[in-house]
């Protein structure tokens, strides 16, 4: 295939003709695909009659994007990529020294995150920083933490878990219910929520240990749904679909509170103007600390015998057993520790929202967290963090794109295309980087030099 296209390229006109032809085909296919979905829209009018709206302009946009995109891809992008690949393989030997930025990426990222809230306050003012700290910062960091937690189960131990959100729910409801019924503070309940989630991780772990691959995935998915259905139906305790509201806020270790009426209110103590931004900034640092704790523990555990056993389990379970490794306890610890971080994140979620309901813990959340892990490159903390920024930050950014209304008309709501773009981004990343953003794995020990292991050698695990 590549050879054929190369011979075509020698005749430049031939390439353009091919690109035009392929662009035309792409246009025809997209016309066929979208004519009923986009071109025609059915709505109900005020008298409950079915009305057929014709949206030929929008359909034309779709078709043109597909046709022009295909033309550009065939005519310019592919030859350019091929040329770049050839150039890269020619200069591969000289490119051994990585740039300063690349080597210290994680340190730079942490410092940048620490200075992120003050920078936003300076740029947008106290009230204006709310959106950037809360919607972007905290939202992304929650997903980073969840994905790092799931990474222990999926990326390191190779156990495909589709019900991870269940542990998130356990953590959130642990905080919500225990603080309401027993009045315990966040700092007591945070570890307790983690322990409870780890406990549930073990409960899930025991019956599914004998399952592998697809079967394991389906049972974990069912477990996630069971937890959600219990939360919906156990109305005496969880208040069902109404959810638990009025969840108390966290305090700065009990020293300063963020309750408006409290005498030790943060803004009052420091004689600042009242704003909810301080609480959000505090929450930002809290989730940053929790996420970094997850990363630190993961990095430490990878260098411990248990972490190596997880990765060995992903590579070959039978070989593990022949080496005297108890695979049952090894899998259980992976489930429990992964679930524990999910529980931490869950109790943080409850404290941030002040309200939890089963709606927040649907299967889609599990799927998004898993997608972030896979996109980032299984096992790689940096890759996963980048994937979380791209996926969660990207979809949040869609809300900001009001200028699109001037193109697609005033009825256009970019948020509705969130999942479409999510899917598109996944396809693009998986085509360009089949092993995720960071496909290689860093060895946990070395004799002479630390050489990263290429993704083509590592396995995804079979459950």
């Amino acid at each position: 295939m590549a050879n054929i296209s190369n011979t075509h390229e020698s005749a430049g006109g031939n390439l353009t003709a091919r690109a035009l032809r392929e662009g035309f085909y792409a246009g025809v296919i997209s016309l066929g695909l979208f004519v009923l979905f986009v071109g025609l829209e059915t709505t109900q009018n005020i008298r409950n009659e079915l009305v057929l709206n014709q949206r030929w302009g929008l359909l034309a946009v779709f078709v043109i994007v597909a046709a022009v995109g295909r033309f550009l891809s065939v005519a310019y992008l592919r030859p350019w990529l091929a040329a770049r690949k050839a150039a890269a393989s020619a200069t591969a030997s000289t490119e051994t020294e990585e740039s300063f930025f690349k080597r210290n990426f994680s340190k730079i990222a942490i410092v940048a995150l620490i200075f992120y809230p003050p920078l936003m306050v300076v740029l947008f003012g106290v009230q204006g920083s709310l959106k950037w700290v809360d919607n972007f910062g905290i939202q992304i960091l929650i997903y980073v933490m969840l994905a790092w937690g799931l990474n222990i189960v999926v990326g390191l131990a190779g156990l495909l878990d589709l019900g991870y959100v269940a542990f998130y729910a356990v953590g959130a409801y642990s905080y919500a219910l225990l603080s309401q019924y027993f009045g315990l503070s966040f700092w007591v309940l945070l570890p307790l929520a983690g322990i409870l989630a780890a406990f549930w991780g073990m409960i899930l772990g025991f019956p599914v240990l004998r399952l592998k691959g697809d079967y394991l995935a389906i049972v974990t998915l069912a477990f996630g749904e069971i937890i959600r259905l219990v939360l919906i139906n156990w109305t005496e305790v969880t208040k069902g679909t109404f959810g638990v509201s009025g969840i108390p806020k966290a305090s700065v270790f009990g020293i300063w509170s963020f309750d408006v009426s409290a005498p030790n209110n943060f803004a009052k103590v420091f004689e600042l103007p009242m704003s909810s931004a301080y609480y959000k900034i505090f929450l930002f640092y809290l989730i940053l600390a929790l996420a970094l704790l997850t990363a630190y523990v993961t990095i430490r555990l990878r260098r411990m015998p248990i972490g190596r056993a997880w990765e060995a389990l992903r590579e070959d379970e039978i070989a593990c057993r022949s080496l005297g490794i108890n695979t049952v306890t090894t899998k259980l610890t992976a489930f429990a520790i992964g679930a524990m971080f999910g529980g931490f994140a869950g109790s943080f979620f409850a404290v941030r929202q002040g309200f939890v309901s089963p709606e927040s813990f649907v299967f889609l959340e599990s799927a998004i967290i898993l997608a972030i892990v896979v996109l980032g490159g299984m096992g790689s903390l940096i890759g996963i963090a980048v994937a979380a920024v791209v996926m969660v930050g990207g979809t949040e950014l869609l809300r900001e794109m009001t200028f699109l209304k001037s193109i697609f008309g005033p009825d256009f709501t970019p948020e509705l295309y969130r999942m479409l773009i999510f899917g598109l981004a996944m396809v693009v990343v998986m085509v360009l980087k089949p092993r995720g953003f960071v496909g290689s794995r860093e060895p946990t020990a070395f004799l002479k030099e630390r050489k990263n292991v290429s993704g083509s050698f590592t396995k995804e695990g079979h459950g």
């Binding site: 523990v297 430490r300 555990l301 411990m304 015998p305 248990i306 190596r308 056993a309 990765e311 060995a312 992903r314 590579e315 070959d316 039978i318 070989a319 593990c320 057993r321 022949s322 080496l323 005297g324 490794i325 108890n326 695979t327 610890t333 794995r441 060895p443 946990t444 020990a445 070395f446 004799l447 002479k448 030099e449 630390r450 050489k451 292991v453 290429s454 050698f457 590592t458 396995k459």
Partner: protein, 298 residues
């Protein structure tokens, strides 16, 4: 032709008694009894489908035998009934290590990491089941450094020290075989079971393997049980050979004894049952005439 007498005086490390394994209607092993002696290299040979790997899987706990008893006696005198233990306990407690016919390395881990995973149980204990290690206590740091020294020792023995930081999946075939043996040795076994260690090796690699197995026996004192088709390896290094056919033992003794056993020759050359008598006669004639010559061929 009496079996080798020198082995009879040795003390057995592994005793297999009346072992039977049934898969549905198939009797893979039928009432098999044999012994492997401490300090010996025992070879288990036989035509394809004779049940050699099944015996291995029973010994190492991967299969539960239908009947029979497998006793492992450690140097200190402790006895283990292997048929009652699960696979990982056989390695962890009874100190029996194994390799696989189709190599099972952790291909995405480096060569060094493969050997560190093999020291899991010792390191787990040293790290206080992860908790003390997570706190960074010096006991674990010391144990970790020691584990790297052990890995280095075996890497040098297996001639893999140059490739220590490469992924195991990147090694050539012969090196992967050696690495699998080194990894099994890192678990500190008293009894090492090798499933066709020379399969797919060229003559030079075969020789290197013989060297490695001999030095393992000499330096670590581990006894070895191996399945092998390559007769150059079997006859060269083994002290004691057990021959299986259709799940039953047909011969047991020194390599020389087995080589001239008419039943073995019949099994390997494929003679009709009623012709076995003839073969025995022929061999006796030859033996009377000019002493033992030729023998088993693979």
């Amino acid at each position: 032709m009496a079996p080798g007498t020198n082995t009879m005086t040795k003390d057995p490390i592994l005793k297999v008694e009346h072992l039977s394994m049934r898969f549905g209607g198939l009797m893979a092993i039928n009432d098999l009894s044999f012994e492997a002696y401490r300090g010996d290299i025992t070879a288990l040979i036989g035509p394809n489908g004779a049940g050699k790997t099944t015996v291995f899987n029973c010994v190492t706990g991967f299969y539960k035998p239908t009947m029979g008893m497998i006793t492992m006696r450690q140097k200190a005198g402790k006895e283990f009934l292997l048929e009652r233990m699960t696979d990982f306990e056989v390695n962890r407690d009874a100190k029996v290590a194994r390799t696989f016919q189709n190599i099972r390395l952790f291909s995405g881990l480096t060569v060094l990491e493969n050997l560190l995973v093999a020291q899991h149980n010792a390191l787990m204990k040293a790290s206080g089941y992860t908790i003390l290690g997570l706190l960074g206590l010096p006991t674990y740091k010391k144990a970790a450094a020691e584990s790297i020294d052990i890995a280095k020792y075996w890497l040098e023995k297996a001639n893999l020290i140059e490739r220590a930081d490469d992924p195991a999946g990147d090694l050539p075939y012969g090196a992967q075989r050696r690495l699998e043996i080194a990894r099994a040795m890192c678990t500190g076994p008293e009894f090492l079971c090798l499933d066709e260690p020379a399969a797919g090796l060229n003559p030079r690699e075969s020789l290197a393997l013989n060297e490695l197995l001999r030095s393992i026996r000499k330096d670590s004192g581990a006894s070895i049980l191996l399945i092998e088709h390559d007769m150059s390896v079997v006859m060269e290094i083994s002290d004691h050979v057990v021959v299986l056919e259709y799940g039953q033992k047909i011969s047991d003794g020194t390599p020389d004894h087995v080589k001239n056993d008419p039943k073995v020759i019949a099994a390997y050359l494929g003679v009709e049952d009623d012709e076995v008598e003839e073969v025995i006669e022929e061999i006796e004639v030859i033996a009377e005439g000019e002493g033992p010559q030729g023998g088993a061929h693979s």
